[in-house]
């Protein structure tokens, strides 16, 4: 089938999901130890969406992410070391420590970027797609966004404009059932948000967000369509956030039974099951080990790096003559 990932691509997605999970778990430990600063939004359980949706993109394609972007960062090819350095405010981070975990960007890899304003990645990707169209480039723009973000006004405005102008953008909705703590039944007037695609005259699809291959296929088809100049699509990936909304989550609103049920459908477990007969457990174990080692090394190295020195921002100067 068209848009199906190769076996190597599947292994690579598996590897990236393990990188993300290791990163998230390590961040969780460090938070408990009081060693993080500011809120950190982990995506444990949602890795298949971010990794699967970005796996077929090139470096000149753009991705606009969210506050919960670690899987998108890794999916788009960012290095764990520079991500970790940024999260810990080091000079060697992607943004020299100025952006932090939520707002990270790497223009060279087309990750522009994390965003802490819920929904903001949607018009951002739409604008990038406009830019691509005007420059007659063959690239696409993608935004990943949550079920909470789908209720924002800019989501509506962006989808309307994208469809009207047939912009090369792919809307990937990570439906993880919650805003921060508000269940989707408390924020979305319909259960399946992809039904809204019809209101913009664009295709809408639902996919199992815990199956990276399924995500790859559905999103891949949308990416191809966008590249052909046929306009945007909406892909709704159903998934679940297995940890707190951020490191400051005090809990109490997720059902234990839900968590258990979704843990049984852990995207890494699903990928493992699908791959183990294809490539053998040994290769997967090696991949697993290497991924974890890379993340461990990233933390070790980053923690030894210096903090940045302060420099003023010339673009922000209020006076022509600096006083």
């Amino acid at each position: 089938m068209k848009n199906a990932p190769s076996t190597d691509e599947c292994v690579e997605m598996y590897r990236k999901m393990i990188v993300v999970r290791s990163l998230e778990e390590k961040l969780g430990e460090l938070h408990k130890a009081g060693k993080t600063r500011g809120p950190i939004h982990r995506c444990d359980g949602q890795e298949a969406v971010g990794v699967g949706a970005t796996a077929m993109l090139t470096a000149t394609d753009y991705v606009a992410s969210t506050h919960r972007g670690h899987a998108h960062y890794i999916g788009k090819g960012l290095e764990p070391y520079k991500i970790v350095a940024e999260i810990f405010g080091r000079e060697t981070g992607y943004c020299e420590g100025r952006a932090g975990h939520m707002l990270m960007g790497c223009a060279a890899k087309g990750m522009i970027g994390g965003n802490g304003i819920v929904g903001a990645g949607i018009p951002a990707a739409t604008g990038m797609a406009l830019s691509i169209q005007i420059q007659k480039r063959n690239d696409v723009a993608m935004c990943l966004f949550g079920d909470g973000a789908a209720q924002t006004g800019i989501c509506h405005e962006s989808m309307n404009i994208a469809s009207l102008w047939k912009l090369p953008v792919v809307f990937v909705l990570e439906h993880n059932q919650y805003g921060l703590t508000v269940h989707h039944t408390g924020q979305s007037s319909v259960a399946d948000l992809s039904v809204r695609a019809a209101g913009y005259g664009m295709p809408g699809a639902i996919v199992d967000g815990n199956d990276a291959v399924a995500v790859y296929r559905a999103v891949g088809a949308a990416v191809e369509r966008a590249r052909r100049g046929e306009g945007p699509s909406l892909v709704e990936a159903k998934t679940y956030r297995m940890v707190g909304f951020s490191t400051s989550d005090m809990g109490g609103y997720q059902k234990d039974s839900d968590i258990a049920a979704w843990r049984a459908r852990d995207p890494i477990r699903i990928a493992f099951a699908a791959l183990k007969d294809m490539v053998g457990e040994a290769r997967l174990a090696a991949v697993d080990q290497a991924a974890k080692a890379e993340v461990d090394a990233a933390f070790e190295k980053a923690f030894r790096d210096p903090f940045p020195a302060f420099a003023p921002d010339p673009a922000s100067a209020p006076y022509t003559e600096v006083s």
């Binding site: 600063r37 500011g38 809120p39 405010g89 080091r90 020299e96 420590g97 100025r98 952006a99 932090g100 939520m102 707002l103 965003n115 802490g116 304003i117 819920v118 929904g119 909470g148 973000a149 209720q151 924002t152 006004g153 805003g179 921060l180 703590t181 508000v182 269940h183 408390g186 924020q187 979305s188 400051s248 005090m250 109490g252 609103y253 903090f307 940045p308 020195a309 302060f310 003023p312 921002d313 922000s316 100067a317 209020p318």
Partner: protein, 324 residues
């Protein structure tokens, strides 16, 4: 009198006003089941039910507009906007809607709503979750803007805000929620539009808002050790501003420092400086000194953020410059 955290004082004010007036209701993101990300609304859903304590979708622009129209039609909405950075999404509802109706409809409607939010930096929340956008609000006619610095004022001003017939924007500070202090029980109202002298002094007046009041008090303590007697005035209400209190203090000290956590250029300290120029120029022995946030985005990394946000040290230096 009870020893309460700032967040608990706010919670008490909300609870008391909801008991007093069935038309008071709360809405906002994560304020119900979870009790608010800063736990200000904890327990209120359980006590008052889902009709009057509503979790909402992430739709700030519409929520603010709904507060305006709900207030016009018989209820007293109290809307929580989680971070003051997201107030950017409410500006249309405030400046193009809330601001105008009491006047342009010649008194046919009143708009008794409160929009609570919290701002401020210093905790590594980075460029989109740390800003102090006070002037976006204080510039707008028809709004009142308050910013309590203590638990007692948090309670007293919030109760007054809820009873006010006009729109009140209520600015909390993320670093004050855990501040614990005495708070009067029950009917404790603090009048909107009245500053308070947080510390009396004779050599220099420091006019400050929100968390900067505490930085100013620290600064005053340092200045004291250097033989300088600083008066710290907690403005409490940013609009309408207590001009009499400002004039009286400047008349006494002849030197003024103005402190606000927001950006300097076109920020709230600009108005304070200009107001003092307008109304107390002849009392001034030196130019008013402004202490504000550096004019740039707030960086994430701790050593960078520390340079950008105003501190007691900067206030001390400003006071010394004023007196030099």
């Amino acid at each position: 009198m009870a020893l309460l955290r700032y967040a608990e004082a706010l919670n008490a004010a909300l609870r008391e006003e909801m008991v007093r007036d069935p038309n008071v209701f709360l809405f906002g993101e994560d304020i119900g089941t979870y009790g608010g990300v800063f736990k200000v609304t904890r327990g209120l859903l359980e006590e008052f039910g889902a009709m009057r304590v509503r979790d909402t979708p992430i739709s700030e622009q519409t929520l603010a507009a709904m507060a305006v129209s709900a207030a016009m039609t018989g209820t007293r909405p109290v809307l929580e906007i989680m971070y003051s950075d997201f107030m950017a999404l409410t500006i249309d509802a405030l400046v193009n809607q809330a601001s105008i109706y009491e006047y342009i409809w010649a008194g046919q409607v009143r708009l008794p709503f409160v929009l609570r939010t919290q701002g401020g930096g210093g905790v590594g929340a980075a460029a989109q979750h740390s800003k102090s956008l006070d002037v976006f609000l204080t510039h707008i006619p028809g709004l009142k803007v308050v910013a309590p610095a203590t638990p007692a004022d948090a309670k007293g001003l919030l109760k007054s805000a809820i009873r006010d017939p006009s729109p009140v924007v209520f600015l909390e500070h993320k670093s004050l929620y855990n501040l614990r202090d005495d708070v009067p029980d029950g009917e404790h109202l603090v009048e909107i539009g009245k500053a308070v002298t947080a510390r009396a002094g004779t050599d220099v007046s420091i006019f400050a808002t929100s968390r900067m009041v505490h930085e100013s008090l620290s600064a005053a303590a340092v200045l004291e050790t250097g033989g300088i007697s600083a008066e710290v005035v907690d403005l409490r209400t940013l609009r309408p501003l207590d001009l009499a209190a400002i004039k009286a203090s400047v008349a006494k000290t002849n030197h003024a420092v103005v402190v606000n956590e927001g950006w300097r250029f076109c920020g709230y300290t600009a108005e304070l400086s200009a107001t003092i120029m307008d109304h107390a120029f002849d009392d001034l022995d030196a130019p008013v000194e402004r202490v504000a946030q550096l004019d740039m985005p707030i960086p994430y990394s701790e050593p960078l953020e520390a340079v950008v946000i105003p501190t007691a040290e900067k206030i001390v230096a400003a006071a010394r410059r004023a007196l030099a």
